[in-house]
């Protein structure tokens, strides 16, 4: 690596809250972009998402390495100030319920007047346009709308839970749109408006099942842990409380290796299990046999015995397993501890998909970027700033 950080010289400004927006800019910030969040005191409790309620201002997810400026942009002077901050940016990101910022005078056309090549990304559940445009909801609900809950869980039970799955799919596409727009602007000098719903990116990951419907009129349903062309294929119960190991056998070779590792190489030729079709037909019996074996072993032992035999297997890890035990994540230095004004250190993970030197700092305190942004970037005087603080424009 050259030491030059990937996005040095790029500035992002955001008005965001709750996961999707902040995650989007977090990548750029982690790679050296200067990231500024415009916040006001009253909305702060919603920033960054996270567990808990009514909690004091604490370390927030996806805010490390960002500067915070506190502006009350409801007032005309605040609006003016917010516009100036946004116009100093290469990329502006907002994920407010659609239309809010435009109503306030901070929409794409408003900013474009002062900065013609701005890359302006607006992200909300269903997009800025259309009969359902600008509708607000949460990632749990959108994951359901995008089809993921229906295809998760057991066929004899209600749909399963996938948390806020689409909250992590959508930012990937937001980032791609931003990166593509930056590249296009590099070549042509033109910015653009990126109208990113979360629904449309979410559906990208449903594509094969969607085609099964548009072509075959088949509605994909949940199938537990079954895979139509693999057996054994499940999460198997291991020693200890609620400990599991996933095992997946696809080929004849893997099946023979599995049986050896299982301690019963002759099982490979058992007529109940010798072929894939036979294993699928007798899958319940097979799963029972596997569970019996795994039940007297730890998940870690099952995984290592199977992997040594060339069979895909993995401990169903909890967060504790990941942070404290997983040797691969340790070796890859996946987790970083952030310093925090609070006693508990906050464990976060930087974007892991490229090897970079990543600066990780604590998340900003409200308005900690005020001086730098207002004085250094916008060139305001101390008096000017003091006046706006008095008027409540700078919160």
């Amino acid at each position: 690596m050259t030491g030059k950080r990937l996005f040095e010289g790029i500035r992002t400004v955001e008005v965001t809250g709750h996961v999707t927006g902040p995650v989007t800019t977090q990548l750029l910030a982690d790679c050296g972009a200067e990231a500024i969040q415009i916040e006001t005191g009253s909305r702060r409790g919603l920033m960054g998402g996270g567990a808990g309620f009514g909690r004091p201002q604490v370390q927030r997810k996806n805010t490390s390495g960002k500067l915070s400026v506190s502006i009350n942009f409801i007032s005309p002077k605040g609006l003016e100030l917010a516009r100036r901050v946004i116009a100093s940016a290469d990329v502006f990101v907002e994920n407010m319920a659609g239309g809010v910022l435009t109503r306030r005078g901070l929409g794409y056309e408003d900013i474009r007047k002062i900065k013609p090549d701005i890359i302006y990304l607006a992200t909300c559940m269903q997009g800025q346009t259309g009969p359902h445009g600008k509708h607000a909801a949460s990632g749990h609900k959108l994951s359901a709308l995008a089809g993921f809950n229906h295809i998760t869980g057991w066929p004899d039970r209600e749909p399963g839970w996938v948390g806020t799955y689409t909250d992590f799919v959508a930012p990937r596409y937001n980032i791609l749109a931003i990166l593509g727009a930056l590249e296009y602007r590099r070549r042509t000098g033109k910015g653009q408006f990126l109208d990113m719903s979360q629904y449309e990116p979410g559906l990208q990951f449903m594509a094969p099942a969607i085609l099964d419907y548009t072509v075959n009129r088949r509605v994909a349903n949940r199938e537990g842990n079954r895979c139509s062309y693999a057996a054994p294929h499940n999460a198997y119960r291991c020693q200890g409380e609620d400990r599991w190991c996933a095992i997946a056998v696809f080929t004849d070779e893997e099946w023979r290796s599995f049986c050896k590792a299982f301690g019963k190489p002759e099982m490979a030729n058992d007529t109940r299990f010798a072929t894939l079709l036979a294993r699928k037909e007798n899958e319940e019996e097979l799963d029972r046999a596997v569970n019996e074996w795994t039940g007297s072993r730890t998940a870690e032992e099952v995984m290592s015995v199977m992997q040594a035999a060339g069979v895909a297997a993995g401990v169903v890890e909890t967060v504790q397993d990941q942070v404290e035990k997983d040797p691969q994540l340790k070796a890859r230095q996946f987790f970083w501890e952030l310093e925090s004004p609070e006693p508990n250190k906050y464990v976060n993970s930087p974007p892991p998909y490229y090897r970079l030197a990543i600066r990780v700092r604590q998340g900003p305190q409200l308005g900690d970027g005020n001086n730098y942004v207002f004085k250094d970037i916008l060139g305001m005087s101390d008096d000017e700033i003091a006046g706006l603080v008095k008027e409540g424009v700078i919160a």
Partner: protein, 420 residues
């Protein structure tokens, strides 16, 4: 629809060579939909991913895999066996013309063929190599195998999916894990491209499928554990941290289910618009009518109180279909969505209004097929499907003959030798 003309897109000037298997197909699709010239390289006879269903009219055939169709849009296709000496020579010629090479071979495989990053960079300085593997290029699990269920197991996420009296589950059907990792590969490619413009240097992007999933945290298990080490959220535990009650998160309705929860940040009073709706339809009760929905200690109300609220809510939902609940949610600003099936989304009025569905021509089948379209509406350079997935070796002539100038006769020899 025929392959697009060269109108400017986000990635018009760039070419990607896509050698991935199932683990990385989406990466090339994304770059291709964004306008790059993506060439899918398959071993002669076609990639193994063509065996993955579902199939067109349930006819299992390497040219009828809907799975293959969906993840290889906007790519041209050639066949090449890079394990042969002739194949490697041709590949190197192609690398000279490329900006990206995307692959998902086991770590070390390309090294053995003399096609590792350093070697590729000698051939084409500035080349960007995107490598997508189960656990990354390094570490004790480097040579371990994965599959979708195994990847999710090792991601931390799967521990929260399913019911406590049954095994943890994965999301059914095609591999979600690979899609997330492949998208990260595309991000890495464009990040590296951005850097190349200032440094002149390419790099290898090392995507670990385990890591791509481990950054996902749909249940706030990481912060919960961070604040209270030892707090391991179990699947089927629909509680807010520190709450005095459990909340239901999926409710049955007349013709299916909806995703709705009364849990949430009290200052938003997200329940209120729904309660108002229930009141408007005479389905509220005294308790709900007198309840203070913006009380700051909402999270601490008793289970009995929550049961009361949820009971009335459940009754209300049972009088309505998914479509009615969606319509009402939009109209009344309720943060509710149906648990949609693939049939539901096809009827969705919003997607239709956004022009989301696109018709893609499949002349080899004599039909057009409706595909999910662009991932976003970008005002200058919208991503879009420029062509259907390639047939096996469909562009061999166009690229080998047309571009590399290999004669027809030589191509026949290479075909006979199993090189293409």
């Amino acid at each position: 629809m025929p392959a697009d003309d060269k109108t400017e897109t986000m990635l018009s000037p760039y070419r990607a060579l896509d050698l991935t298997d199932e683990k990385g197909l989406l990466c090339g699709k994304i770059l291709g939909d964004m306008g790059a010239d993506v060439i899918k390289l398959e071993k002669p006879g076609g990639d193994a991913a063509r065996s993955i269903g579902p199939y067109y009219h349930d006819e299992p055939h390497p040219e009828k895999s809907l799975f293959w169709f969906s993840l290889n849009t906007s790519k041209r296709g050639i066949t090449l066996d890079i394990e042969t000496a002739d194949g490697r020579e041709i590949f190197k010629k192609l690398v000279k013309t490329a900006d990206f090479v995307i692959e998902s071979f086991p770590p070390g495989y390309l090294d053995k063929l003399g096609l590792d990053y350093t070697s590729l960079n000698k051939i084409k300085p500035g080349i960007i190599l995107v490598s997508i593997t189960p656990f990354g290029q390094t570490g004790p699990y480097r040579d371990y195998k994965t599959s979708d269920i195994v990847a999710w197991a090792l991601s931390g996420e799967m521990s929260g999916w399913g019911d406590i009296d049954r095994p943890p589950v994965r999301i059914s059907h095609h591999s979600q894990s690979y899609l997330n990792a492949a998208a990260d590969g595309a991000i890495g490619a464009l990040v590296a491209l951005n850097q190349r413009w200032s440094t002149g240097k390419g790099q290898q992007i090392d995507v670990s499928i385990q890591e791509a999933l481990s950054i996902m945290d749909g249940d706030n298990r990481n912060p919960a554990w961070s604040r209270n080490p030892g707090t391991v959220r179990k699947r089927g535990e629909p509680a807010m941290a520190g709450a005095g009650h459990r909340t239901t998160r999926l409710f049955a309705c007349k013709d299916g289910y909806v995703s709705w929860s009364h849990g949430g940040v009290s200052v938003l009073a997200p329940s209120l618009p729904l309660i108002k709706w229930m009141q408007a339809e005479g389905m509220s009760n005294e308790f709900l009518d007198n309840f203070d929905w913006s009380r700051p200690d909402f999270g601490a109300i008793s289970q009995e109180e929550m049961d009361n609220i949820e009971g009335a809510t459940a009754k209300f939902f049972m009088t309505k279909t998914k479509a009615e609940l969606l319509e009402g949610a939009i109209k009344r600003d309720v943060m509710l969505y149906p648990v949609a099936t693939t049939a539901d989304m096809f009827d969705d009025v919003q997607l239709k209004a956004r022009g989301f569905w696109v018709e893609v021509e499949h002349p080899e089948l004599g039909v057009t097929i409706t595909y999910p379209g662009a991932f976003g509406l970008c005002s200058e350079t919208p991503p879009k499907i420029s062509r259907r997935a390639p047939l096996i070796g469909e562009h061999n002539r166009e690229i080998y003959e047309g571009e590399l100038g290999i004669t027809k006769e030589k191509l026949a020899v290479l075909k006979e030798a199993g090189v293409i």
